[in-house]
Amino acid sequence: MRITCPLCGPRDRREFYYYGSEDYLTRPEGEDWDAIDAHLHLRNNPAGRVRDLWYHDMGCTSWLVVTRDTVTHEVFGAALVADGGVSISAKMKSKGGAA
């Protein structure tokens, strides 16, 4: 599996640390425990296309949102959290998507 880092280009999977689902990007505000539980623990966990967070540990140390397929291991693309990741998840939020 190779991931194309927006800054470094195509790199071996070993350079990256997998953190988890992009659910981590939408941190709930306030003290709604159900929302915090969902944010930290509950997952849609789909078999197919996902967006998840990877850290380019042994490269540029950027946080990335990687779009890939959990069944085929195909990687479709990666975007910087600093650029696109947050705004994309914010778009989901405004549509009433996953918390």
């Binding site: 599996m1 071996d12 999977r13 070993r14 997998y18 953190y19 988890g20 689902s21 425990w33 159900d34 539980d37 969902a38 930290l40 623990h41 509950l42 997952r43 849609n44 966990n45 789909p46 078999a47 996902v50 998840d52 990877w54 959990t70 069944v71 085929t72 291991h73």
Partner: protein
């Protein structure tokens, strides 16, 4: 199909033509008292104990493939009770006792071999942790013996004790730990459940869960609708997708765990050996193959195959620990899909939907848990009350903060 020594001899004399299928192949009925989704080890054990312990026999096990075709048919077969935390300790202790009585109970040879399990340690701090774990195991009524370096050498003379990275300081021996024949466990429970009247329905994939007024009333399947007032989801590896049919999200992320088998060799490794610092464990099957594995690949996956970095890592760890295996040829490898929970411990609990129960989140330790999981899940489904030994395997424990983090690695799905 019943077995006896006499039957084996007479069949041997007449060409083994009289053996019959071990269980029926019934069509689904329109309604059952209870349905178990998933015909793997845990689902079959649940059905068996529902029938045996609770007298519930109008039940069906629905399996999308054939019996035993999931993780119960592909794992590294280790059976042990060396847990530390209250909640895990008594559960796995009960499971090991059930393993020890399983062959007599099922009248089925599951080739349970208590060859001893040795967890190695490589520092003073790790030794202290193992002393504490060993004491917890003894307090639970199980067995543990602390071995120093020379003690380990008596059992495992072939290890590289002086390796520069992780020199071996000693090990914790769990004499009652060992292995079993994975397929036979599924077959034994399937036969036992079938003999008690349970319908094992194969090639029957559940496509929907019917809920009316907050209560489960049945399931939709590829072989038609089936009614039931009690439904158990026992589908580790696919738990998220089945739960989604009931509108639930689970605290589970699916990950791939790889394992490897070499060509058959003469007996060379007599124990189960685990090398935690290198993420490596190994045993030798009765056919002679070395069966070994390591850690998960660390990213969410349903691929049933892993990537090469973990293959390389596992091979390196094996060569670091026991250079003698370097000439053995790997015959095959595979990846299994694991329900990873944020604390590494499983879930056996009710759900917010009345009559719907969940047995999931076995991470990569589900095999040894098969009998106790079935026992406790059957208790829960029959009585509506959680079994004492599974009282901490709560679905809501992440929200309430009552985690069971055996390894102390933190609340993230891929850390366990």
């Amino acid at each position: 199909m019943r077995y006896s020594g006499l039957k084996v001899i007479t069949e041997g004399l007449f060409g083994n033509k009289g053996w019959k299928p071990m269980w029926r192949d019934p069509a689904p009925k329109a309604e059952y008292d209870a349905i178990i989704i998933g015909g793997g080890g845990h689902g079959l054990a649940t059905a068996y104990y529902l029938a045996k312990n609770h007298g519930l026999t109008n039940i069906a096990v629905l399996e999308k493939g054939h019996i035993g075709s999931g993780n119960i048919g592909r794992n590294t077969t280790i059976v042990r009770a060396n847990y530390f935390l209250p909640g895990n300790s008594e559960f796995y202790s009960q499971s090991l006792k059930l393993w020890e009585g399983m062959e007599a109970d099922l009248n089925y040879n599951v080739m349970h071999s208590q060859r001893g399990l040795i967890n190695l340690f490589h520092s003073d701090g790790q030794r202290d942790a193992f002393v504490r774990r060993g004491n917890a195991m003894i307090n639970q009524g199980d067995d543990a013996i602390l071995l120093d370096r020379e003690g380990v050498r008596e059992h495992l003379p072939y290890l590289d004790f002086e390796q520069t990275r992780f020199p071996i300081y000693g090990g914790l021996l769990h004499p009652r730990g060992g292995t079993a024949r994975h397929d036979a466990v599924a077959w034994g429970y399937a036969r036992g459940a079938d003999m008690r009247g349970v319908d094992l329905i194969q090639n029957c994939e559940v496509t929907g869960i019917d809920i009316e007024g907050g209560r489960v009333v049945g399931v939709q399947t590829t072989r038609g609708a089936i009614k039931a007032r009690k439904v158990g989801m026992v589908v580790a590896g696919r738990s998220g997708q089945v739960a989604a049919m009931a509108g639930m999200r689970l605290p589970i992320e699916s990950h791939v765990l790889q394992a490897f088998v070499t060509e058959g060799l003469k007996p060379v490794i007599d124990h189960v050996v685990s090398f935690g610092m290198g993420h490596f464990y190994i045993s030798q099957s009765d056919k002679g193959g070395l069966v070994f594995g390591g850690d998960i690949d660390f990213y969410a996956s349903y691929a049933s195959r892993g990537n090469l970095p973990m293959v390389e890592h596992v091979m390196e760890a094996g060569m670091t620990l026991m250079p003698m295996i370097g000439r053995a040829k790997v015959l095959r490898s595979w990846g299994g899909i694991m329900d990873m929970t944020p604390d590494g411990s499983p879930i056996i609990d009710k759900t917010p939907v009345e009559g719907l129960f969940v047995d999931a989140g076995w991470n990569y330790g589900g095999f040894k848990a098969v009998p106790a999981s079935g026992w406790c899940m059957a208790h829960l489904m029959a009585t509506g009350e959680g079994h004492e030994n599974a009282r901490k395997f709560r679905l809501d424990r992440f929200k309430t903060g009552h985690l069971l983090d055996e390894e102390g690695t933190g609340s993230q799905h891929n850390l366990h």
